[in-house]
């Protein structure tokens, strides 16, 4: 079989280049957008995904980790009674006002009070063991590398949170927060920093199960009692989802992503289809000749679709390579970018869908390949 579609694509590559560039840039734009959004909003569930807790206990109706309210500390004993639970620890999440040694003014920080013991659950995946151990010292805090300039401190220096003095004992990485700066300290330090006497209990209780696979079932089972005041439970996976979803949709960011995806698709499809249509028109007489010789319209349309496919595939390849380079660059600059399989698949589907729609549009213009017009 003579590979007409591919040979034409190679021979007349200049003609198809605009389509490939349009597809490639559409794909790249979409890829980076999704990676950025996932990276930024993924950090809102970092508290959950960076910890090894299987079940979270918090105030009912909490929509994201940052919007929790305190619960009764006695809930802990209720949770511990369940035979599936291996370990429970409190987690204090609090807002704070940071004043650093440098002239930075007040910086809004998110204080995470965690259990600094070696087998602590909170941030077990994000915080190296030595840093965690150092948190046990009174008034010790760990801050993220990405926030050093913002906080105006360096390791060993002191600052104040809500007027209480703290000392930076370590610098972590990958603990970037959205809309503020994460500051990690021990539970004791966190209680010291809280100047509101009315909320005394922890913001959350986090539990490790003997069998993590049972998280969803145990979460449901633990929900029943109301003897200790209001609380509810989530499996860690569900709570992370709720948290990310809250940021994506309640902040309008999700709508923004979809909107931009729509625009990218539209612009890409217009440029790509126009290019393909021009290419088809350029070979119209040849296609008509083939049809006169009896090659079916369907077979000719397949040639156009195949060209659209290659344009999409090559554009995607370019976008993928450039995207990987750009994402590595972003990572090296501490810009949060994350790409997961569904998002990458989404990009591929968008780009190939764009190419397919353009191919179909070009196919329509094939109707003008009437061989009778060759006889004049």
């Amino acid at each position: 079989m003579v590979a007409l579609a591919r040979k034409t694509l190679i021979y007349e590559w200049r003609r198809f280049l605009p389509a490939m560039l349009a597809v490639g840039f559409a794909g790249l734009l979409q890829l980076l957008q999704i990676a950025l959004v996932l990276g930024i909003f993924g950090s809102t569930s970092l508290y959950i995904t960076g910890s090894s807790a299987d079940v979270w206990v918090g105030y009912p109706g909490t929509q994201s980790v940052g919007s929790g309210r305190t619960i009764d500390a006695d809930v802990e004993s209720r949770i511990l009674m369940d035979p599936a639970v291996l370990r429970v620890e409190p987690y204090i999440w609090d807002d704070g006002d940071w004043r650093g040694p440098a002239e930075t003014g007040g910086v809004s920080v998110f204080v995470s009070g965690i259990d600094p013991s070696a087998n602590g659950l909170m941030f077990s995946k994000a915080l190296p063991a030595d840093l965690r151990a150092r948190l046990a010292e009174p008034d010790a805090v760990v801050v993220d590398r990405s926030a050093l300039d913002q906080l105006g401190v360096d390791i060993g220096q002191t600052a104040t949170i809500n007027g209480h003095q703290v000392r930076v004992v370590g610098i972590s990485s990958g603990l970037r927060a959205l809309g503020g700066v994460n500051v990690l300290c021990s539970l004791d330090t966190a209680r010291q920093l809280n100047d509101d006497p009315t909320d005394s209990g922890p913001t959350y209780l986090v539990a490790k199960l003997r069998n993590p696979a049972q998280a969803a079932a145990v979460a449901v089972r633990l929900r029943g009692s109301t003897a200790f005041g209001p609380y509810t439970t989530w499996s860690a996976k569900d709570f992370a989802k709720i948290s990310v979803r809250y940021w994506l949709f309640d902040t309008g960011a999700g709508a923004g992503v979809l909107f931009l995806a729509g625009i990218v698709f539209l612009v890409g499809a217009v440029i790509t289809s126009q290019t393909l249509i021009a290419a088809v028109n350029g070979s119209m007489r040849e296609y008509a000749t083939l049809n006169a010789l009896g090659v079916g319209v369907g077979a000719l349309r397949r040639v156009v679709l195949e060209q659209a496919f290659w344009v999409g595939a090559l554009g995607l390849l370019g976008a993928g390579l450039l995207g990987i380079v750009l994402m590595l660059l972003a990572r090296s600059q501490d810009v949060p970018v994350v790409l997961n399989v569904p998002a990458a698949l989404g990009c591929i589907i968008l780009v190939m869908g764009l190419a397919a729609v353009s191919g179909l549009a070009a196919m329509r213009s094939m109707r003008r390949a009437d061989p009778a017009t060759l006889l004049r």
């Binding site: 040979k7 070979s283 040849e286 006169a292 061989p371 009778a372």
Partner: protein, 250 residues
């Protein structure tokens, strides 16, 4: 009445048109292009249609080859009633039985001469080897064996038209239609093209119908039809197809 130059087929003619009419309507204007025209062509002959510009030659060719529908009358090609075939069936009919050579060469810029010829064969359900064999053979037949790997941009006009002929010929069609195949070529190249067409009619028994203004071609035809205003004015057979190039009527 017929000179015994061609083999007469006792049976039905290869191509038969009876009382065909065709009009084009653009706006309020109606142009009667073919007016109750009848025609019968035998296999193995090169028939030339000549006539003034706009008299309906190309339209007649389009109708006889199943590319256009008639308003009235009917066309019978190789025993098939073309008017009764739908688009798919007409495509299949053309695929199996017809070849075309147009004034423009209509070659894909990206393909080599060999691939241009091989491409339609791929769609005929031939094996890969058979398609290649035929492509090779018909390119040899038009004298392009040494230029098979070249693309259209590397071929002369005459060579391009010979590739186009090879493309039609490789299908081994019973009917070969050519519309002004020489008008874009100089005299020598035009001569070569008509020679090839004539030889195809002879050696393959193909019914070749060629439209041309070119008076030099007349002597090479087995039969010349003169058209005017949608009718056939005269139908004659030049005395000797192999006669030397002189005394050309104009």
């Amino acid at each position: 009445m017929h000179p015994a130059a061609t083999t007469e087929h006792a049976g039905t003619p290869a191509l038969l048109a009876e009382g065909i009419s065709k009009a084009f309507i653009s706006g309020q204007q109606r142009t009667q292009v073919l007016d109750n025209l009848s025609l019968s062509l035998d296999a193995g002959e090169l028939t030339l249609i000549s006539g003034p510009s706009g008299c309906g030659k190309s339209t007649l060719l389009a109708i006889l080859s199943g590319l256009q529908k008639v308003d009235s009358g009917h066309v019978r090609a190789l025993g098939s009633e073309l008017g009764q075939l739908d688009m798919r069936a007409l495509e299949r009919f053309r695929l199996q039985h017809t070849g075309f050579v147009f004034q423009g060469f209509n070659l894909f810029p990206a393909l080599s001469a060999f691939e241009q010829v091989e491409l339609p064969l791929n769609h005929m359900g031939l094996s890969r080897n058979e398609a290649r064999r035929r492509a090779q053979q018909s390119l040899e037949e038009v004298g392009l064996a040494h230029r098979m790997r070249l693309r259209p941009s590397e071929l002369s006009g005459g060579e391009k038209q010979r590739v186009a002929i090879a493309r039609a010929l490789a299908k081994e069609p019973e009917l070969l239609f050519a519309d002004e195949p020489t008008s874009a070529l100089d005299a020598a190249n035009g001569q070569m093209i008509i020679d090839i067409l004539h030889r195809i009619a002879r050696t393959h028994g193909t019914t070749v119908l060629c439209v041309s203004h070119d008076p030099r071609l007349v002597v090479h035809a087995d039969r010349v039809l003169a058209m005017e205003d949608g009718r056939i004015l005269s139908d004659r057979r030049p005395p000797a197809p192999t006669a030397p190039d002189q005394g050309i009527p104009s």
